[in-house]
């Protein structure tokens, strides 16, 4: 079959690879119908998330059709149209049973690296390097999904492939980010990053009761899309002093909750950004922290900073003093896909969330390399490229 493979830092290629097969009783094989790019892939492609190997198949946000089921699969049938959570969860450990799926104890068969780096190993993630289990990803005609009964969910009729695909990752991540904020109704929520994740976080915050949502980015077309689709206010951080603007918009208080949906390659204007980039390039620090710093500085006293942008290692100039003395609540994590997907599919079917507009560039798998270029360089208004392997 054809698949989009990582070939080294910054290098991708579409290649012939062997087809997956059922290997464990709980496995299902899915014929991929739509497979999206995600901001996390950029961290992997650029070598900031470690342990990629030449030939690894990328992709973790996808949906498709079940074509084969292992003997232990009960809930799914061949022919089901399903969306699959990016995070692999066994369903039987304490973390899974308490719905903290991204912390599953048993789904990363290669846990030593993250145990050394972080003290414990979180769940495996499909198509997400050998530190996250070494699973083949979804930018391929077929993918093996372990623990199919736990991770794959039937898509309601009437929901299109290019909308359902985002219930895999961008929607649950955005929802969790807003969920972390503990909204009671009427709060001001600021969201850094107007990518797929940030936009879904903004929509989720609205649904969960935020009174005002303010989205921060520098890409005019993304800010315009967020304003038009979601009715949020926006700040262009390249033209405006973000902290000043937020203070002013909230009459001095600062946002009640700040969601960070940018991640380790965050961008900034000015000299400290050059310093951060040099340090990261030299691997003296693994992550650039611009937007997290801003979120902590901007947040009102006693407010919540919710981080869903991905970070891997050590950072510099983390404003711990601000967080401590302002008594902030910090929440963060990889999303618990399986906890949120069924609820999100209902909201999708009911029209309450419509993520279909994120799929600005539907392309055949063969155009995968170009698809990532469009996405990485944010060319042509690209929010997300969605690959269609069976097209």
């Amino acid at each position: 079959m054809r698949a989009l493979c990582w070939e080294g830092v910054g290098k991708l290629a579409v290649r012939d690879v062997p087809e997956p097969r059922i290997r464990a009783d709980g496995d299902v094989v899915v014929r991929v119908r739509a497979s999206s790019v995600c901001g996390s892939d950029l961290h992997l492609i650029n070598g900031y998330l470690p342990a990629m190997r030449e030939g690894d198949v990328l992709g973790h946000e996808f949906m498709g059709e079940v074509v084969e089921t292992g003997p232990g699969v009960r809930r799914l049938r061949v022919g089901d149209r399903v969306v699959v959570g990016s995070v692999v969860a066994c369903g039987g450990c304490w973390y899974c049973r308490t719905e903290q799926y991204s912390l599953c104890d048993n789904s990363n068969p290669q846990p030593v690296f993250t145990e050394k780096l972080w003290g414990h190993s979180p769940a495996g993630i499909l198509g997400y390097s050998h530190a996250a289990g070494g699973y083949a990803g979804s930018h391929a005609e077929y993918i093996r999904v372990p623990f199919g009964d736990v991770g794959a969910f039937r898509v309601p009729d009437g929901v299109s492939d290019d909308a359902a695909v985002f219930a895999s990752d961008a929607m649950p991540t955005g929802w969790m980010a807003a969920d972390f904020c503990g909204l009671k109704g009427g709060e001001v929520v600021a969201v850094w990053g107007a990518g797929g994740v940030g936009q879904m976080a903004a929509r989720s915050a609205q649904i969960l009761g935020a009174g005002r949502v303010i989205v921060i980015d520098r890409l005019p077309e993304r800010l315009a899309t967020a304003a038009a689709r979601l009715g949020v206010e926006t700040i262009d951080y390249a033209r405006t002093d973000v902290l000043e603007a937020l203070r002013e918009m909230t009459a001095g208080r600062g946002p009640d909750a700040c969601i960070e949906a940018v991640g380790m390659e965050s961008h900034d204007v000015g000299p400290s950004y050059a310093y951060d980039r040099v340090k990261q390039a030299a691997r003296l620090q693994t992550d650039r922290l611009v937007s997290v710093r801003q979120a902590i500085m901007a947040c009102r006293k006693g407010g919540t900073v919710s981080i869903v942008g991905v970070y891997a290692g050590l950072v510099d100039k983390f404003p711990l003093g601000a967080a401590m003395n302002k008594a902030l609540v910090l929440r963060m994590g990889q999303m618990h896909a399986q906890r949120y997907i069924p609820m999100l599919l209902e909201r999708l079917a009911g029209g309450e969330i419509d993520p279909g507009y994120l799929a600005t560039h539907p392309l055949p798998l063969e155009d995968g390399v170009r698809g990532y270029e469009l996405f990485e360089k944010k060319r042509d208004g690209c929010l997300r490229t969605v690959l269609h392997p069976s097209a």
């Binding site: 087809e19 198949v57 039987g92 450990c93 049973r97 068969p109 030593v112 050998h130 083949a136």
Partner: protein, 212 residues
């Protein structure tokens, strides 16, 4: 009807068989000398399984499940009431075989001793209730002894048995909690056979520890 002691022994055999003891010490690593007692190297490891103690033991009564868990690399033979013989091959190949004798000491405690293998080795497994209803702690102690030649070559200087024991306990936990030990080797990739072999080595390091 399999008796309780027997079931318990099967769990122990599972632990022993998965450990691949020979392999455990055949690797070298220089940091962290394990603790030594009367000429034995001693390592302790534990894992928490999210099932009550009876659940952990009962899991092993299913012969089919056990055979699948031990698939290929171990056989069990009952010697008498509380004693079993386990014969196994190293899990990662290499063809080396070893034998161990397993003895049920009391409900919840068993010991094993390698009777024929590359290293003198014995161990003990104990099941303890975890606090807050978090299931069962499987606590294991592994002791091994090495000859002077191995020591001279630095083979003794490792925490590898420690890692192997941890890997074993992780596997046992996974089998009880979700019925399988995930394996992603030979998932589809664009690698050549040579690249795949190199990647398998990386996978093994990431799975069990050891020097990358």
């Amino acid at each position: 009807m399999i008796g309780r002691a027997t079931r318990w022994t099967l769990l122990g055999a599972g632990v022993v068989a998965v450990t691949g003891v020979g392999r455990a010490v055949a690797r070298r690593r220089r940091r962290h000398q394990p603790e030594r007692q009367d000429g034995w190297y001693v390592v302790h490891r534990g894992v928490t399984v999210d099932r009550p103690r009876d659940g952990v033991i009962d899991f092993w009564t299913d012969r089919e499940r056990l055979d699948r868990a031990l698939a290929g690399w171990a056989t069990l033979e009952q010697l008498d009431g509380g004693r079993w013989r386990c014969e196994a091959a190293e899990r990662t190949g290499g063809g080396r075989r070893w034998r161990a004798e397993i003895t049920v000491e009391s409900p919840g405690v068993l010991r094993w001793r390698v009777t024929d293998g590359p290293v003198a080795q014995e161990g003990r497994v104990e099941l303890v209730d975890a606090p807050q209803g978090r299931g069962t702690e499987i606590r294991a102690e592994l002791r091994y002894r090495l000859g002077p030649v191995r020591r001279a070559f630095g083979l003794a200087a490792g925490d590898e048995p420690d890692l192997a024991l941890r890997d074993t306990l992780r596997r046992v936990k996974a089998l009880v909690e979700c019925g399988e030990v995930v394996d992603t080797r030979r998932d589809p990739s664009g690698r050549s056979p040579r690249q795949e072999r190199a990647t398998d080595k990386v996978r093994e390091k990431l799975a069990t520890g050891g020097r990358a």
